[in-house]
Symmetry: C2
Subunit: 116 residues, 2 copies
Amino acid sequence: MQKAHHPELGEIALIEVMAALSDPIRVGLVRVLADGHERGWGQLRAPVAKSTLSHHLRVLRDAGLTRTRQEGTRCYVTLRGEDLQARFPGLLQVVLSAMEIDDVGSQVGLRDGEDL
Amino acid sequence: MQKAHHPELGEIALIEVMAALSDPIRVGLVRVLADGHERGWGQLRAPVAKSTLSHHLRVLRDAGLTRTRQEGTRCYVTLRGEDLQARFPGLLQVVLSAMEIDDVGSQVGLRDGEDL
DNA sequence: TTCGATGTTCGTGAAACGTCGAACAAGCTA
DNA sequence: TAGCTTGTTCGACGTTTCACGAACATCGAA
């Protein structure tokens, strides 16, 4: 499909990261990806239309939170855990903990019983 | 003037906190307040009209990040550092560090040479 | 009481956001 | 080739956000 711009490590901006994490759907996606496993696009289950999901994944990518890889017609997405740790140490960890405390984004999950 | 709703500790929502922190002016305000000192409204210097500043301070208050106290015609604002620590441990610390790394919100400061 | 200072609220407008369905592009598969 | 699947892109729409100036309310000072 196309370019899919990923920001460099040094280009990851705090404001955009925060903005990306201020939507429940996106927070849910981050939570699903938090185990570090790469996920196929189709495994993700969220209560929105596919165009909307595409939009949210793009916001996450543009903010530098995730990396998208393409293989044939499919996309795979991963959390940029190490990059985030390098750029803003501790941020991801703390936010993930906070997500659980507040139970944000639980509406997002994986298809059926896929866990790992 | 009026009510000025402050959320209870348990009502502080992660999504709103993140949303509040996704604006440079508000991040700057948080940074100024990060030393824990209470600040008079008039000490704050930000490149926006006063009605806009009022708006931002309201967003921070509604999100549970700050507490506003009134005395006569003046308002004083403080970071709810302890409450935040209790609700989302480590979050504020990490975000403050990230703010410095990315130098966000440096356009906001205190009037003249006021430091403490 | 009158004035000035301080913040809030209101009305407005521009921009951004979240959402959707439809149309499109690209790659498998038959 | 034709058709299916997958994901992106494109308006469109309504909501929310940010910004401003003007008007208002409140209090302290003159």
